[in-house]
Subunit: 637 residues, 2 copies
C-alpha cells in the first residue's frame, strides 16, 4: 500500500480523503448523475466500487431491498475473482474468512454393495500455478460488506440508496448530456409510494435474472432447461461422512449430490438432485420441502448418517442456462451509442453448482467499469463502450456451452470398474474433464478476441505465458528498491490505469541503448508518446500509464539511482520519488518470472495490461510506434 | 477462523456476541473491577485485549491522554510480535499496511574519499526459517487501533476510559477481595478535577517510563547512560541516497546514522548521532532543533542529498538502558501475593534504535495476561503470578546486556580494508554479530528458565526444534479434514487455552496401541487426566486443553473417521464436530515438520504449549503421569 504521498496523515490508510466537492449522502436520490446503477448485488457493487475511485464521476446506486444483504445465495469465489479482489484491496480479508477448496473427491456406488457409496478418486481443486490465490467459498453477503466499506472509504464516499423499486427507464437520444431518465418508487415506511426521477448519462441494470432494466430495453434471456429439479441447502449437521470438509461429487444409486464446505469450519452446502420435471413444468409446482431435501440427501449419502441441526438457507431450482444476445441498448447494428447496459444475472444464468453466477457477474462490471470511467473522464471515445457487450457476451456464451456439457457429464452414472462398457462416464475421463473445466470455473477461461483494445498476436512469442486477451497472470518478483518479495500482478490496482510491464532483454540494463531505456526515453520525450499525449497537465506522470520494469539481474546488481526518471517518478505535492516501479526475478523462491511466463531473454517484451487486468498487447520493447498506434485507436488526447 | 458453531450468524465473524451480563460502556469508571490497567500503550492494550476475551473477568483500562493515539513513536514490529498478532487475529492487517524490512545495508567512509560514504555490505534482515512472518515497521498508533477494534468486538465490549490521571495506589492486604484502591483524576472538560475511586483485585501499571504505578509501589528504574545524544525524525524527503528504502546503518566521518524505511512507501525514519553529553548532562539542556538534526543527517549522508519536505514527528534522547529489579509489589521474598504489577516501559527502557521498546512491552503483558485470567477464573493458584516478574525481568536483563554491547559496536568506526589494525570493528565481525543480534531483535532471544510452568529438558531430544522455554516455532502442515495447507502455530490463538501438540511416532496411527491413541484414551478416560480434572462441566472438551495431532503420513492415508473422539470433538449447542485438530506434514512445500523441528520419528513427541505460545514442556507421548504431574503443579481442579 502506498500512502502519505502528500503529507503524513494519521489513521487507517484505507480511508481516503473525501474529494472536496463530494456531498454528504442524503436520503433522497440525486436528480442528475453520470451513472445510475440499478441493483446492489455482486455486479452492481463491483461497478460502484470501481466508479467510487473517481470522485469526478457522479455515481448513484439504488437497490430494491431495504438494506445490505445479510444472507446470500452465492458462495463460490473463483481464483480469478480473488485476483480482482486484490485489485480492490480486500483479498486478504476474504482469504482469512473464507473456506479454502483444496481438493475434490469423487464418490460412486460401491462395486460390491451398490446401495452404499465409496470414494473412487480425488484431485486437487486448482492446478498448480494457475493463480497465486486459492479457490474459496464465502457467503456473498460478506463480499458485499467489503465492497460497501471500500465505497464508504473512497474519495466519493459512495453509499447505496435502498428501498427503491425500478418503475421505468426511458432513453431520449436527443438529450445531449443526460439521455436516460429513470423513475424509481420508494418502498420504505412513510416514503413508500413516492416516485423519484433520476436523469443519467448511463444506466447499468445489475438487477438480477428478472431484470426490469433488461425488460425496459427490450432484451430477454434465451436458453434451455434440463427439466431437472435440484435442491440446495446450507446446513449445520452432524455426520460421519468422512469428506464433509472437502468439495465432493457423489454419484449414488439414489441420485447425485454435491458437497461444498463453507466458511467457519462447520457450515456445509449440499446440492441435491431432486425430481425429473415435465417438459413445461416449473419446479415451484412440485411443492418440495426442506424435509424432503434432507431425506433425499440422507438416501444418497447412505451408509453415512446426516443429522441436520439447522438450515440457515435452502432453495429449489431447475437446471438451465440462459443468456441475452446483447448486453446494451445499442449494439444491434443501428449505429447508436449504448446508453443502457445490463450485467450479471440480468444477462446470463447458469447452473449454480458451477459457482459461476457471482464470479462472472463481477467480471462483467469490472470489464465495464473502467470503460465507463474512461469515456466519462474524456480519456476515450464513447465507441469503447461497444466492446463491453462484444467481449462479455461472447465469453459468457462459451462458458455456458462448456457448462452444459459438464453438467450432463456430472449427471451420468459412473462406469463400474474396467469391464463396464456402459454409457456411463469413465472416472478417469471425468477427472480429466474436471481439470479442464477447472480453468473455466477458476475464471481463467476468459479470452477476449482481437479488437480495438486487444492487439493481434504477431509478437506473442516474446512472452508466451502472457497470452493476449487473457488475464495478466501474476508471478513472484523482488522489488529492487527494498528487496521485498511480492507478486508482480498485485501492482495492478482497480484505479483505472493502464499498466505497461517492460521485461528487460539481454542488454538491459547495462546499456544506454537497451530496450527499457530507449522505451522510457521515448515515453518521456517523444511528442507521439502515449504518456505525453494522454496524461493531463497536473496529473502525476503515472496517472494514466503505470510503467513498471522487470530486469533479469538480481536486485543486488541493480540500483534505483541508475533508473530512468519514468521508473523513479516524482509525484505529489512534495515531488517525492515513487520507489515501487522496478523489479527483478525472485530467484530465491526458485521461480524466475522470465521462465514462468516464457519471456524472450534476448529481446525482452512489453506487456500492455488493461485497467481490468486483461492483457491488451505484447510488443517488442522497441515497437514505439506500434504502441502509440494501439492507444491512438481508442484514446483521446 | 471458526464460527457458526452455535448457529448461523450473519455479519462480520470478528464481532463476537456480547456476553449477556456485559454492561454498556459508561462515561464514569466502574467502582469495583477484577483488573485495572493503567495506560493505553502497547503493553496496556495487549493486556486489555487478552482479558477482553474473558467476559467473566471485569477489566477496566484508563489512560491519561484524551483519546486514541494518532502518531506514535514506536514503529518496529519484530517477527515474534507478528506471531503474537496472529494469535490476536490481526497479523494480516499489519502485514498489509506495514513496511517490510527485508535486507540491511552497511555504509562506511569511502576508502579513497573518506568524506564520502560507500556501501560495504548487505545482509538479509531475518535469517531464513526464523519465523513465518517478516520483520515489519508500522506506526504504533495503528497497532493500538487494531487492539482497540478487537476489544470493541470482544464478548466484553471493552473500551478505555480516557482523560484519567493516576492520583494514587493503595494496597490493603486485609481486604480479601479487592485489596487495591486506585484514585484517578479526570482531566476532560467539565469533569476536570473530579476524583474517581476504583477498587481492584489486581492493578497493572502500563504507564510508561515515568510510571506512577511504579513509584506507588516503591520501585525504580536503574541503569546507565552512554552520555550520547541522538536525534530521531520521521521525514518525507527527496534524496538520491540509493538505499533509502532499506534499513541502513551508516558510519561516516561525521558520525553515525540509521535509516528505517516506513509504511506507505514514502516515509522514512532517521536516527542521527548528535552531541556527546557531559557526565550528568541531560539531552534537553542542549536545545537541539529539528533543523540541526536535518543538518547533521545531511552531513553524514554526503555526497548524497537529503531534501526534507515534512517532518511529522521528531525527538532527541540520550542512549541508556534502565531496568527495574522486579515487576510487582511482592516478589521481594516477603512471601506476599503480588497485587500490583508493572509492565513495558515502566519496567525497562532501551535504546530505541534496537526497536525493542514496543515489542518487549507487549510480550510482558502477553505473559501476564493469561496468568491473571487463569487465577481470576479459578484455574490456577495465585502463586502462578510470581512467575511474571521472575520470567520477564530476567529476559529483559539479558536483552539489555546484549543490546548494550551491540550499541557500543554500532558506535565504533568500521575498520578500513584488510590492512587496518585499528580498534574499529571488522565489517565481517559486525555482520556476524548483526545476525546473532537478529534473533534478539526478532524477539526470539527469550528463553524462560525451568520453573513451575516450564518443564525440565530431560526429553528435549524428542523434539530438538521445539526448545522448552522458547516460543513455539510454527511450521507448515496440511489439515487432514480438508487438505488445507497452513501454519501449525496459527492454531494457537490468544484465548487462554493450553495446547498439546501430539506428534505421532512410527506406529501412529495404524496401531490401536500407538502413542497418540493411548494418549487420547488417557486424556479422555483416566480420572487423573488433566483434561478431565481441569475442564469444567458444561465447557467444550477443548475448553482448557486444545489437543492437536500431527501424523507422519500424507492426508490421503489418514481419515478423520478413524480418529479418537478427542481429535474430532463434539462441541457447542448442536454437538457439531470440530474438524480442525489433525494435521500431517506439508510434503508438497518441501518442508516436513518432523524434519524441520527435529521430531523423533520412532517415538513421536508431545509438545506442551502455554497460552502465550511458549513451550512449557516436551514429553514422550506415553508419559501420561508426568503430564498430569506437570499441570498438578499449578492448576486447580
Amino acid at each position: 500500500m502506498q500512502f502519505h504521498l502528500n503529507g503524513f496523515k494519521p489513521g487507517d490508510p484505507h480511508v481516503e480523503d473525501a474529494a472536496p466537492h463530494v456531498a454528504r449522502h442524503t436520503d433522497t436520490v440525486p436528480a442528475e448523475v453520470d451513472v445510475l446503477i440499478v441493483g446492489c448485488g455482486p455486479a452492481g457493487l463491483t461497478l460502484a466500487a470501481q466508479l467510487a475511485a473517481f470522485p469526478d464521476i457522479h455515481t448513484c446506486i439504488v437497490e430494491q431491498k431495504d438494506g445490505p444483504l445479510q444472507l446470500g445465495q452465492a458462495d463460490g469465489i473463483a481464483c480469478r475473482t480473488m485476483e480482482m479482489f486484490e485489485a480492490f484491496n480486500f483479498a486478504e480479508r476474504v482469504l482469512k474468512e473464507a473456506c479454502w477448496i483444496n481438493e475434490v473427491t469423487f464418490w460412486k456406488p460401491d462395486e460390491d454393495q451398490p446401495e452404499h457409496i465409496a470414494r473412487h478418486g480425488r484431485v486437487q481443486d486448482t492446478e498448480d500455478g494457475l493463480s497465486e490465490f486459492p479457490h474459496v467459498v464465502l457467503n456473498q453477503a460478506r463480499v458485499h460488506d467489503f465492497y460497501l466499506e471500500l465505497m464508504r472509504n473512497s474519495p466519493s464516499r459512495l453509499e447505496p440508496h435502498y428501498s427503491r423499486r425500478l418503475v421505468d427507464v426511458a432513453v431520449d437520444d436527443a438529450d445531449p448530456t443526460h439521455p436516460v431518465t429513470v423513475r424509481v418508487e420508494r418502498c420504505d415506511g412513510i416514503h413508500a409510494g413516492k416516485i423519484e426521477t433520476i436523469r443519467a448519462r448511463y444506466v447499468v441494470g445489475c438487477d438480477g435474472a428478472r431484470s426490469n432494466v433488461r425488460r425496459a430495453i427490450g432484451l430477454q434471456l434465451v436458453g434451455d432447461s434440463a427439466n431437472q429439479a435440484w435442491g440446495v441447502m446450507d446446513v449445520l449437521a452432524v455426520t460421519d461422512f468422512p469428506d464433509i470438509r472437502y468439495k465432493v461429487a457423489v454419484q449414488s444409486a439414489h441420485g447425485n449430490l454435491l458437497v461444498i464446505p463453507r466458511e467457519g469450519g462447520y457450515l456445509v452446502r449440499l446440492y441435491v438432485e431432486m425430481d425429473k420435471l415435465g417438459d413445461e413444468e416449473r419446479v415451484a409446482s412440485r411443492g418440495i420441502t426442506v424435509e424432503r431435501l434432507i431425506e433425499v440427501a440422507q438416501g444418497i449419502l447412505h451408509p453415512y448418517k446426516l443429522d441436520v441441526k439447522e438450515v440457515p438457507w435452502w432453495s429449489v431450482y431447475e437446471i438451465g442456462q440462459r443468456i441475452c444476445a446483447r448486453y446494451d441498448d445499442a449494439t444491434d447494428g443501428s449505429g447508436k451509442m449504448p446508453r443502457v447496459f445490463i450485467a450479471g444475472d440480468a444477462c446470463h444464468t447458469h447452473s449454480p453448482k458451477a459457482g459461476q453466477g457471482m464470479n462472472f457477474s463481477m467480471q462483467d462490471t469490472f470489464n465495464l467499469g473502467w470503460k465507463l470511467a474512461s469515456v466519462l473522464r474524456g480519456q476515450c471515445a464513447p465507441g469503447l463502450l461497444d466492446s463491453y457487450s462484444q467481449e462479455r457476451q461472447v465469453v459468457a456464451q462459451e462458458l455456458i456451452d462448456f457448462d452444459r456439457e459438464w453438467a450432463k457429464m456430472f449427471s451420468d452414472p459412473a462406469r463400474q470398474g474396467n469391464g463396464d462398457q456402459s454409457d456411463g462416464v469413465d472416472p478417469k475421463e471425468f477427472q480429466k474433464y474436471f481439470e479442464q473445466h477447472g480453468r473455466f470455473t477458476a475464471g481463467m477461461g476468459t479470452h477476449y478476441k482481437a479488437s480495438l483494445i486487444t492487439g493481434g498476436a504477431s509478437h506473442q512469442q516474446l512472452a508466451t505465458g502472457f497470452v493476449i486477451g487473457t488475464r495478466f497472470h501474476s508471478a513472484p518478483v523482488v522489488r529492487i528498491a527494498d528487496a521485498r518479495p511480492m507478486q508482480l500482478g498485485h501492482a495492478g490496482k482497480a484505479d483505472g490505469r493502464w499498466r505497461l510491464y517492460a521485461f528487460g532483454g539481454a542488454t538491459d540494463h547495462t546499456s544506454d541503448q537497451s530496450g527499457i531505456r530507449a522505451l522510457c526515453r521515448y515515453l518521456q520525450e517523444s511528442p507521439d508518446s502515449p504518456v505525453r499525449k494522454y496524461t493531463r497537465a497536473g496529473q502525476d506522470m503515472d496517472g494514466v500509464f503505470d510503467v513498471r520494469a522487470i530486469f533479469q539481474q538480481s536486485h543486488h546488481d541493480l540500483s534505483t539511482r541508475s533508473m530512468p526518471a519514468l521508473l523513479l517518478p516524482i509525484k505529489g505535492r512534495y515531488g517525492l520519488h515513487d520507489y515501487e516501479k522496478v523489479f527483478c526475478p525472485d530467484l530465491k523462491s526458485g521461480h524466475d518470472i522470465f521462465d514462468l511466463r516464457g519471456i524472450d531473454r534476448e529481446r525482452g517484451a512489453l506487456v500492455v495490461v488493461r485497467p481490468d487486468q486483461y492483457i491488451a498487447h505484447v510488443l517488442p520493447l522497441g515497437a514505439h510506434q506500434a504502441l502509440a498506434d494501439f492507444f491512438a485507436g481508442f484514446m483521446l488526447p
